[in-house]
C-alpha cells in the first residue's frame, strides 16, 4: 500500500487493552472499581524509561493516533502527520503512548461497554468524567506501563487541557508540557455550542434516554447535527469561503428551490456528520462536551490561573493558530500570561494559519518546525 510510506510512518500498529485494576474515585463522587483503556504505543521505551511521551486526544479522538491498523487501510491515525520516524514526535527517539480516554467509545471503558453488574451497556449510567479524572486514569496507566515521569505530555484542544491538568496535578511526573490550540477554560460561547450539540442528541427520538443500544438504534440525526455544528466552529470563515464559497453541487448554476443538498458546504457538513455517526457514540459525545465545559483548573485556586500553575515543574510550550476562533490565540495567551506570572519556563508560538481550530492536526511548516525544535531538545535532555 503506497500510503504507508516507508520511513515516515510507524506502519501497522496493534492496539491493546490494558486493565486498570486500581479503583478510581471520580470528581462526581462515584468510584470505578476497575477500568480498561485501549492503548497504542509507537517507538521503543529506552532502558531508563525516560523517553516516554503521552498523547492526549481531543473531543473525538482515540488511541489510534498514528500508523494503520492493517496493511490495506487507507486512513492513518488522527495525528499521523506529527507522529512517526523523523516526524516532530519522532518515534526513533520517543516511546509514544496514546490512549482512548475513560468514557470513550473505542474500546476503553465507557457508555458503550458492558457493565459487568448488569450485563448491559453502561449507557447513561456511566458517570460524567472530567479532565482531572482522565489525568488520574492516565496516571494509573503510566503506573501500569512502568513510566514514572513523562518526557512530555502533548495534546491539542481538549487534549491540551489534559496536558495542563497533568502539569498542575502531578508536577513531578511531567518534564515538558506541550499545550496546543487550547484554552484555560472554555467561554460561554463555547459552552453554548456544546449545549446545542447536546440538545441535538438528547432530543433525537432515537436517543431513548441514552439506552438506545437495547433498541438497536442510534440517535444518528442528533449526533450528526452535533458534529455538523462542531465542524463549523473548527473552520475559519476564510477557510470555508476558500474551500466552498457559494459553489453549487449541480453544474448548471440554477437554484433548485427545495431543501436538498445544494451548496457544496451543505454537502461537506452532511458528509462529515454522517461519517461521524458511523464511528462515534452519542453518549460519549455528551460526556466529552461536558468534560470540556467543566474544565477550569483555576477554580481550585481562587480563580487564579497563575496560582494553579505555581506548583508545576514542567517546561511549557504553548502553540496557537491565527485562524482558530474556537480556541483563539487570545485564550492561549491567557495560559502563557499565567505561566509567566507563576515564573514558569514557557515558550509560545503563534502559527500563521488559515484553516481554523483543525490546524493543529495539519503539518504546517512553521508549526512542525516549532514542535521539532522543541521535542528535539527534549529528546536530547532525556538522553535518547
Amino acid at each position: 500500500m503506497g500510503a504507508h510510506e516507508a520511513g515516515t510512518s510507524v506502519g501497522v500498529v496493534v492496539p491493546r487493552r490494558i486493565g486498570i485494576e486500581t479503583a478510581l474515585t471520580l470528581d462526581c463522587g462515584r468510584t470505578l472499581p476497575r477500568h480498561d483503556l485501549m492503548v497504542e504505543t509507537y517507538g521503543e521505551l529506552n532502558a531508563d524509561r525516560s523517553n516516554a511521551v503521552l498523547i492526549c486526544h481531543a473531543l473525538s479522538g482515540d488511541h489510534h493516533a498514528a500508523g494503520y491498523h492493517s496493511a490495506g487501510e487507507r486512513k492513518p491515525g488522527w495525528w499521523d502527520s506529527a507522529i512517526g520516524p523523523g516526524k516532530p514526535i519522532d518515534t526513533r527517539r520517543f516511546h509514544v503512548v496514546s490512549l482512548n480516554n475513560l468514557g470513550g467509545c473505542r474500546g476503553s471503558t465507557g457508555p458503550n461497554t458492558v457493565d459487568p453488574a448488569t450485563g448491559q451497556p453502561h449507557g447513561p449510567d456511566f458517570p460524567i468524567v472530567t479532565v482531572r479524572d482522565w489525568v488520574r486514569s492516565q496516571a494509573l496507566l503510566a503506573d501500569a506501563l512502568g513510566i514514572e515521569r513523562w518526557a512530555a505530555v502533548i495534546g491539542g484542544s481538549l487534549g491540551g487541557m489534559q496536558v495542563m491538568q497533568w502539569a498542575i496535578d502531578l508536577p513531578q511526573r511531567v518534564r515538558h508540557a506541550l499545550v496546543v490550540a487550547a484554552a484555560p477554560k472554555i467561554s460561554a460561547q463555547n459552552i453554548a455550542f456544546n449545549e446545542i450539540a447536546r440538545q441535538a442528541i438528547l432530543s433525537d427520538p432515537e436517543f431513548h434516554d441514552g439506552r438506545y443500544y437495547a433498541q438497536n438504534v442510534v440517535p444518528s440525526r442528533g449526533l450528526k447535527l452535533a458534529r455538523m455544528l462542531g465542524h463549523i466552529t473548527y473552520l475559519s470563515d476564510v477557510a470555508m469561503r476558500a474551500r466552498f464559497g457559494r459553489l453549487l453541487r449541480d453544474g448548471d448554476g440554477q437554484f433548485n428551490f427545495n431543501f436538498d443538498v445544494e451548496f457544496e458546504v451543505e454537502s461537506y457538513l452532511r458528509h462529515q456528520g454522517q461519517s461521524f455517526v458511523e464511528r462515534f457514540d452519542a453518549n460519549t459525545y455528551l460526556l466529552m462536551t461536558k468534560a470540556l465545559d467543566y474544565f477550569d483548573p483555576a477554580r481550585d485556586y481562587g480563580d487564579d490561573l497563575a496560582a494553579a500553575f505555581r506548583g508545576a515543574q514542567a517546561r511549557f510550550l504553548v502553540v496557537a493558530f491565527e485562524a482558530d476562533w474556537r480556541f483563539s490565540p487570545e485564550r492561549s495567551r491567557e495560559i502563557v500570561k499565567a505561566l509567566i506570572a507563576a515564573g514558569k519556563e514557557v515558550s509560545y508560538a503563534l502559527i500563521d494559519s488559515d484553516l481554523g481550530h483543525d490546524d493543529f492536526l495539519l503539518s504546517l511548516p512553521d508549526y512542525h518546525r516549532v514542535l521539532h525544535s522543541y521535542l528535539g531538545r527534549v529528546a536530547d535532555e532525556v538522553g535518547t
Binding site: 508560538a349 503563534l350 502559527i351 525544535s373 522543541y374 531538545r377
Partner: protein
C-alpha cells in the same frame, strides 16, 4: 536544558556590552530577541533567567531549538502580559526606532522592569549628517535600507534621546556609545555624538517619593 550543549558563537559586540551590564541570577525580558543569542549567553554565563519576545517565525523556532524561552508577539502590542516590576531588566536592541511609539515602549519597559536597556542607531552620526547636508536620506552601515523600505520610522540622535529621557524623567544609569565596529573606539571619546553609530542606554525610573532600598 541539557548539559553544555553545542558551543555558541561569540556575541555581537553590542550584545557583549549588554551582557556586562547585567547582574548574575537576574530576571530579564528581551524585546525583539532574534535568535535568542543574548538570552542563551546570559543563561549560560550568568544564570540569568527570562523570556524573549519575537515576532519572526524562523527566529521563534531558532529560540525554541536553542532552549530559550520565547513568546511570539508584536512589540507594538505592548507588554500587557507582564506584571509591574516582574523583571530586573527589560532589554531592547535596535528595535526602538521601528516602533509606533518608542516613548511609550520605554515607559512600558520601565513599568515591567526595574531597569531598561535600549540600543538604537544614532541618526546624528557624521555619515548621516553628511548625507542630509547633501540632500539625501542616509544610507550607512547602521542604516542600510532606503527611505521607502526601511523599518525605521522613528530615528533619533543621541541628543534627541537624552532630551526624551529628561522630559520623561528617566534616569540614565549608563550610557555606552559604540563606533562603527560597535566598540568603544578613540574617536568616540573625542566627539561622541558624531562618531557614535550605536547608542546604548541603561535607564531607571525613579519612583516618586521613594527611598533607596525599595526593591
Amino acid at each position: 536544558m541539557s548539559g553544555p550543549g553545542p558551543s555558541i558563537p561569540p556575541l555581537r559586540p553590542e550584545l557583549a556590552v549588554i551582557c556586562d551590564l547585567i547582574k548574575p541570577d537576574s530576571r530579564i525580558l528581551d524585546l525583539g530577541c532574534g535568535d535568542g543569542a543574548l538570552l542563551l549567553h546570559l543563561a549560560r554565563s550568568r544564570s540569568v533567567r527570562g523570556y524573549g519576545l519575537e515576532i519572526d517565525a524562523a527566529n521563534v523556532a531558532a529560540c525554541i531549538g536553542a532552549g530559550v524561552n520565547v513568546i511570539q508577539a508584536d512589540l507594538d502590542e505592548g507588554l500587557a502580559d507582564f506584571a509591574d516590576g516582574s523583571f530586573d531588566y527589560v532589554v531592547m536592541t535596535q528595535a526602538l526606532q521601528a516602533l509606533v511609539r518608542p516613548d511609550l515602549a520605554v515607559e512600558e519597559m520601565l513599568r515591567v522592569g526595574r531597569e531598561a536597556i535600549v540600543t538604537f542607531p544614532n541618526f546624528g552620526h557624521w555619515r548621516a549628517r553628511l548625507a542630509i547636508l547633501n540632500g539625501r536620506m542616509p544610507i550607512t552601515p547602521a542604516l542600510p535600507a532606503q527611505w521607502y523600505n526601511t523599518e525605521n520610522i522613528h530615528l533619533c540622535t543621541v541628543a534627541d534621546f537624552e532630551d526624551l529621557c529628561r522630559r520623561s524623567g528617566w534616569e540614565v544609569l549608563d550610557r555606552v556609545l559604540l563606533d562603527r565596529a560597535h566598540r568603544r573606539g578613540p574617536a568616540i571619546s573625542l566627539l561622541p555624538h558624531l562618531f557614535c553609530e550605536i547608542a546604548l542606554y541603561k535607564l531607571r525610573k525613579p519612583v516618586a517619593g521613594a527611598t533607596a532600598g525599595l526593591v
